[in-house]
Symmetry: C2
Subunit: 298 residues, 2 copies
């Protein structure tokens, strides 16, 4: 596999094991696609699939999976804690290797068009594929959920990118787009004062005047009697994890608080860690070609 | 490819392009083996091949390459700056992925037996495959070179591990064994005093009472008017690069000297850099499975 794209589609089914397995099987059985993980949550009534593969193979696999989900999942009888607006709720494409963001955006738009044409399922493009700034954010598009969709789609700023201005009767609508891989990175502090974690979070995050690709909140780790600054780094190539880490440390200093550890939640691209090693060790002129595994994957 | 082993055979031919290409072609044309790099040096009159592959495929490829080199290269007329004792001088096996050191040792011994049986080429086992401590070090085995081999092999401590106590008439003998990947890592200092680099090198290296898997010397970088501590880390899983780095920094402090950068020369396993990122960031409970590329290579 030379070109690799990741896709993390969310399906609104977290309870019916048979349907969950049917959807997973679509990703499992395809040449050029590898199912890395899938998990279903009963409370959320939602299923998250993580797959990687060659872009064209991924595209065809998703058409099949979306078609199946539209057939299997009926939002009119769907209940769950997680907000959702469709049988297939969101389909993010993430460029991983030898795929540019432009290619990922093009793929998401190709899929969007086909999904409307084949399944009469209206599509909103989001993130890097969005057709307007107010449509970049998933939460904004999804606000009102399936139940509010019919009314929302009649407003001119919420017409879909593909499809007529009405939801699919049982499957609602789907959000498709390309985004950078997200790194979930938490920094632990040696205090149990949540106000300190909150105050630091507000300073390091983008909306508070902090780092461009950083979202952050304060979180209590009650069992350990400490707090943490919990961050989502939405572009680790520009907002490196070491920079977010050191900025938390810097802000903590004024409270006399120290950093006592960190966590990576879920998957992380190798380069995000390599960039930090190169920074702390001060390695000069380092090339990704020097990493043995990069040569192995060629 | 599930199991991956690296092999870096050295051949005593660095001048005849036709012969060099013939040898490279053996590695290029094999299913399950990937030729990563090869380079030939006229002064050294030596060729170094870097290949990775599935262990059995690598084994068969090496039999073919060694057979070809024995046919093509005649040490009786060979001259070059680099010490050498055979047409195929040394064949190191390096476990990379899902291969234990024990398996790499077993493979090296299987190859050693076949090389003697097929080509009447005596074999010395070295490094982790060595049959005695005085035979672990390549330089010790190779001392006296091709020209002194006949006499040396008659001494009981230098009988070969496979073969009779006499060299192959034209191809000498070959050294085969398994070793850990070697990381060449240099730390630059903000002084041009080579005595300081030498003094630090002596303290951080194993023979001077320093780190177990560290070899080190002081080196002048005349163009930049600085010096460096140039290290070979012979087991990065036990002597991590960040530990060597911080020990150089610590020793430099007493001279009022600071670290101004570092270099990785050649290839480095991803894990060596990840270990350093995890150390400096203080990431807790980190698993290699969280690295996306590790999942891709499965």
């Amino acid at each position: 596999m030379n070109k690799i794209i990741e896709c993390v589609p969310n399906f609104s089914e977290g309870r019916d094991i048979k349907k969950i397995e049917q959807i997973a099987e679509v990703f499992r059985s395809k040449e050029g696609v590898k199912l890395l993980d899938y998990s279903a949550d009963k409370d959320h009534n939602r299923m998250v699939v993580t797959a990687v593969g060659e872009p064209t193979a991924m595209y065809h696999t998703l058409i099949e999976a979306i078609g199946l989900a539209v057939k299997l999942i009926d939002l009119r009888t769907h209940q769950g804690q997680h907000p959702r607006m469709g049988a297939v709720d969101v389909v993010p494409f993430i460029p991983i290797k030898n795929v540019t963001m432009e290619e990922a955006i093009a793929l998401s738009k190709d899929l969007a068009r086909v999904v409307w044409e084949k399944f009469s399922l209206p599509v909103f493009l989001y993130e890097k594929s969005a057709s307007a700034p107010h449509r970049e954010n998933l939460a904004a598009i999804r606000k009102g959920e399936f139940e509010g969709l019919k009314e929302k789609m009649q407003q001119s700023e919420w017409h879909p990118d593909f499809g007529t201005n009405a939801p699919h009767e049982s499957a609602g609508a789907v959000v498709i787009g390309a985004r950078m891989p997200l790194v979930a990175y938490n920094v632990n502090l040696n205090t149990n004062n949540i106000e300190i974690a909150d105050a630091i979070a507000k300073k390091v995050r983008f909306v508070g005047g902090g780092l461009r690709f950083c979202k952050a909140i304060g979180v209590e780790l009650k069992e350990r009697n400490i707090v943490q600054v919990s961050m989502n780094l939405t572009d680790y190539t520009k907002t490196a994890i070491y920079r977010a880490h050191e900025m938390v440390r810097m802000e903590a200093r004024r409270y006399g608080v120290g950093v006592v550890g960190a966590e990576v939640i879920g998957m992380i691209p190798m380069q995000a860690l390599v960039d930090s090693a190169v920074y702390y060790l001060g390695i000069e002129d380092f090339s990704a070609n020097q990493i043995l595994e990069n040569r192995l994957m060629e």
